[in-house]
C-alpha cells in the first residue's frame, strides 16, 4: 500500500527509485532502491549536509551543475555525479530519442578557456583523431581532437574567443 514515487536517481550506470517514507525534524526515513535508511540529516551550510547514521558522522557536499537536475556530490575523495530523473526529465528524454536527435556531432571542450587556434575550416573533411581546436587555459594549451570523421558543418567560435566549459564549438555533418 505504499505510494510508489515516480522519481529515480541515476549515478553512473546505476538507476534506482527513491522515496521519502517519513520525516520528523531532522530524522528522515528514505528508501533507496531496496534499502531503507533512517538518517539524522540536516543541511548545515550552503551545499553541505551533515548525516548521522548508526552513530557515524558524514559531511556530504552537493552542488547543482549546469545540467538540469544533475548534481555533484562528494564525500572525502569520493565524487559522484547524480541525476534526478523526474517525470519531466524522462519525458524530455523520450522525446529526444524519438526524434533521433543526438548531440554527438558537436565538438566541445570540457574546460573553459581561450581559443588559441582552429586548424580546420568549414567544409573541411576531418578524420577521427585529428586536432580541430586548440584551447588555452591557465598557461596550458590543450588540443582537442574529433572523435569521428566527417565534414565540418559549422564552426561556432573564432580564434581569440573566451569559451565556457562544454560549449558547442564545432558541428560535424
Amino acid at each position: 500500500m505504499y505510494y510508489m514515487s515516480s522519481i529515480e536517481l541515476k549515478c553512473g550506470e546505476r538507476k534506482v527509485p527513491v522515496e521519502i517514507i517519513g520525516k520528523k525534524d531532522n530524522r528522515l526515513h528514505v528508501r533507496l532502491g531496496e534499502t531503507d535508511y533512517h538518517l539524522d540529516i540536516i543541511k548545515v551550510e550552503k551545499n553541505i549536509y551533515s548525516i548521522l547514521l548508526d552513530g557515524r558522522s558524514y559531511d556530504i557536499e552537493v552542488a547543482a551543475t549546469e545540467m538540469k537536475n544533475t548534481y555533484t556530490a562528494r564525500y572525502l575523495c569520493h565524487s559522484y555525479s547524480i541525476e534526478v530523473l523526474d517525470a519531466e526529465t524522462r519525458y524530455m528524454r523520450s522525446r529526444l530519442s524519438a526524434l533521433g536527435e543526438s548531440q554527438e556531432n558537436t565538438i566541445s571542450c570540457p574546460m573553459p578557456g581561450k581559443i588559441v587556434k582552429i586548424p580546420v575550416k568549414k567544409g573541411d573533411k576531418v578524420n577521427a583523431g585529428e586536432v580541430v581546436i586548440v584551447v588555452s587555459a591557465m598557461k596550458m594549451e590543450s588540443e582537442y581532437k574529433t572523435g569521428k570523421s566527417g565534414l565540418i558543418k559549422e564552426i561556432l567560435v573564432n580564434e581569440g574567443d573566451v569559451i565556457e566549459a562544454n560549449m558547442a564549438l564545432i558541428v560535424l555533418e
Binding site: 551545499n47 547514521l53 552542488a63 534526478v84
Partner: protein
C-alpha cells in the same frame, strides 16, 4: 625606509606580500587586469590601479604600465613577486631609472643567471659543480650532435631562455635526438622568442634540492638551508619539504657554502635560490639560480622563523641583513603542497571557474597562503595554483600526518583541485619513508591514478543528498526566495498525506 610598495603581481603571492607590508607598516598598491577586479589582492591592498586587459601580455607583463602605476600612486618601491616580470632584467633597470626601488637583485645579476649558459660558466669559475654539458648556446643540428657524442646518452635538451619545463626534452636513444632537438627549439621560440638550446648530461634518479640565500647590499650573504623539491609532475614542483630527507649535516654545510659562493659570484642582492641536482651518491650539480622569491619559500620561513618578504624589503631599503649565519637553524620539519585548480582524474586539465565554497584547514602547525574565496571566479588567463598548504611538525612524520589531516579538512567546491591527488602522495610508503627522486610520480603512477574503491554507503548517501537538494530547489522555485539563507531545509514532500512516521 620604504613607505609604499607596489606589488607587480596577482594571486596568492600578491596577497602574501601585502601581509608582510602590513606588518611593517608599509602602504601597498595592487595592480590588476580586467579579469582581476574581484581578485583578493585588489581588495586587500590599500590602493589598486587598473593596468589593462586580461591577458598578462597586455597587463602584468607591460613594464611601462607598472612603472606608471607606481609613479601615479607615489610608491617608492616595486615588489615583482615570482613569475611575470620578476626575472626581467630590463624591468629592474626601468624601475630603477625612474628612481623607484626594485625589490630584487641588480639587473646584471638577473641577466647573468637568467642565461643558463653564462650561469654555467660563472658557476664553474666560482667552484660550484655543474652538470656536464655544453658551455655555449646551440643553434645547429651538427653542433648538437657533436656535443651529444662528447657527453653521452642520456641527455637533457633545454631552452636557453627557458623555465617551467618549457622547451625541455629528455633523450635516451640516439634515434630520438634530432626530433627532440627540433621540437624543443620550436617550443622555446614560441614561449620565449628564442630558439637557442643547450644540452646536459641527464642525471639518473635525481633529487632537486635548492638552497635559499639572502644577500644584502653590504656584502653579507647567508643561506637558509635547503628545500627538497623532487616531487614534480611535468617538471613542475608540487610538493616541497625542508629539511631534505637525504641531506646530511656535512653535505648541507658544503652545499650551503657553494650556494653562498654562487650568489657572491654575481654580486647578488636580495632573496635568491640556488637549485641543485643531487644524485643518489649525493653528488650535486648546479642547475640554475632563481633570482626572486620562490613559490615554496614558506617552508623555509617556517623552520627558520625568518619572514623572507620582510628581509627582501629591508635589503632593498639598504639595510644590513637581520640575521647572521650562525644564528640560523632548522627547527622541525615543514612541508608544502601546492593546490592547483586542475582535474587529476582527467589528465590534470585546468579547472578554472566559480568557487562555490571554500573551507581552509586550521589548527597547530598549519598555514595556508591562498587568494580565492567563496564567490570568486578563477580566471582562465593565469596560473592554476590557487593556494599553498604548509604544515610543520616537530618531526617529518608529524608534518606528514598533519598535512594529511589538513588536506582532509580542505574543501573547495565548484572546481576540481589537486587536493585528493596530494592526499594520495602523502600515503605512498616511499614518500613516507622519504625515498623518492624526481621520477616519483611516474614510478607510482599505478597507485596514484588507480580508481578509488567503491563505497556503496557513501554513494547511497550522496544520492539521497542530491535528491534533497533537488527537492529544496523545487520548493524555492514554487515558493520564492527562502526567508533565511541558511534555515533548516524542509523537504517538499509531494505525498505528505502518505507519510507515516
Amino acid at each position: 625606509m620604504i613607505r609604499k610598495v607596489l606589488i607587480a603581481n596577482r594571486g596568492e603571492i600578491a596577497v602574501r606580500i601585502i601581509r608582510s607590508c602590513r606588518e611593517m607598516g608599509i602602504g601597498t598598491v595592487a595592480v590588476f587586469s580586467d579579469a582581476d577586479r574581484k581578485s583578493l589582492h585588489v581588495r586587500y591592498a590599500d590602493e589598486a590601479i587598473h593596468i589593462g586587459p586580461s591577458p598578462s601580455a597586455e597587463s602584468y607583463l607591460v613594464k611601462e604600465k607598472i612603472v606608471e602605476a607606481a609613479k601615479r600612486t607615489g610608491a617608492d618601491a616595486i615588489h615583482p613577486g615570482y613569475g611575470f616580470l620578476s626575472e626581467n632584467a630590463d624591468f629592474a633597470d626601468l624601475v630603477r631609472s625612474e628612481d623607484i626601488i626594485f625589490i630584487g637583485p641588480q639587473a646584471d645579476s638577473i641577466r647573468l643567471m637568467g642565461d643558463k649558459i653564462s650561469a654555467r660558466t660563472i658557476m664553474t669559475q666560482a667552484g660550484v659543480p655543474v652538470v656536464p654539458g655544453t658551455t655555449g648556446k646551440i643553434t645547429g643540428e651538427k653542433e648538437a650532435l657533436k656535443v651529444l657524442n662528447s657527453i653521452g646518452l642520456p641527455v637533457m635538451i633545454k631552452a636557453s631562455a627557458g623555465g617551467g619545463g618549457k622547451g625541455m626534452r629528455l633523450v635516451y636513444n640516439q634515434k630520438d635526438f634530432l626530433k627532440a632537438l627540433n621540437s624543443a627549439r620550436s617550443e622555446s621560440m614560441a614561449a620565449f622568442g628564442d630558439d637557442a638550446i643547450y644540452i646536459e648530461k641527464y642525471i639518473q634518479s635525481p633529487h632537486h634540492i635548492e638552497f635559499q640565500v639572502l644577500a644584502d647590499s653590504h656584502g653579507n650573504v647567508i643561506h637558509l638551508f635547503e628545500r627538497e623539491c623532487s616531487i614534480q609532475r611535468r617538471h613542475q614542483k608540487i610538493i616541497e619539504e625542508t629539511p631534505s630527507p637525504i641531506m646530511t649535516p656535512e653535505l648541507r654545510r658544503e652545499m650551503g657554502e657553494k650556494a653562498i659562493a654562487a650568489a657572491r659570484s654575481v654580486n647578488y642582492e636580495g632573496a635568491g635560490t640556488i637549485e641543485f641536482l643531487v644524485d643518489d651518491n649525493l653528488n650535486y650539480y648546479f642547475l640554475e639560480m632563481n633570482t626572486r622569491l620562490q613559490v615554496e619559500h614558506p617552508i623555509t620561513e617556517r623552520v627558520t622563523g625568518v619572514d623572507l618578504v620582510k628581509e627582501q624589503i629591508r635589503i632593498a631599503a639598504g639595510k644590513e641583513l637581520g640575521y647572521r649565519q650562525e644564528e640560523l637553524f632548522q627547527d622541525g620539519h615543514a612541508l608544502e603542497c601546492r593546490i592547483y585548480a586542475e582535474d587529476p582524474d582527467n589528465n590534470f586539465m585546468p579547472s578554472p571557474g566559480l568557487i562555490r565554497k571554500i573551507t581552509e584547514p586550521m589548527g597547530f602547525g598549519v598555514r595556508t597562503d591562498g587568494y580565492v574565496y567563496e564567490g570568486y571566479e578563477i580566471p582562465v588567463y593565469y596560473d592554476p595554483m590557487i593556494s599553498k598548504l604548509i604544515t610543520w611538525g616537530k618531526t617529518r612524520d608529524e608534518a606528514i600526518t598533519r598535512m594529511l589531516r589538513s588536506l582532509e579538512e580542505y574543501y573547495i567546491m565548484g572546481i576540481r583541485t589537486s587536493i585528493d591527488f596530494l592526499k594520495r602522495i602523502m600515503e605512498i610508503p616511499d614518500f613516507v619513508k622519504g625515498k623518492y627522486d624526481t621520477h616519483f610520480i611516474e614510478t607510482h603512477e599505478k597507485v596514484l591514478f588507480a580508481p578509488y574503491d567503491d563505497m556503496p554507503l557513501t554513494e547511497d548517501l550522496s544520492m539521497i543528498v542530491a535528491y534533497l537538494e533537488y527537492l529544496e530547489k523545487a520548493k524555492i522555485k514554487t515558493n520564492g526566495v527562502p526567508s533565511q539563507p541558511v534555515s533548516n531545509w524542509k523537504i517538499q514532500n509531494r505525498n505528505q498525506h502518505l507519510v507515516r512516521w
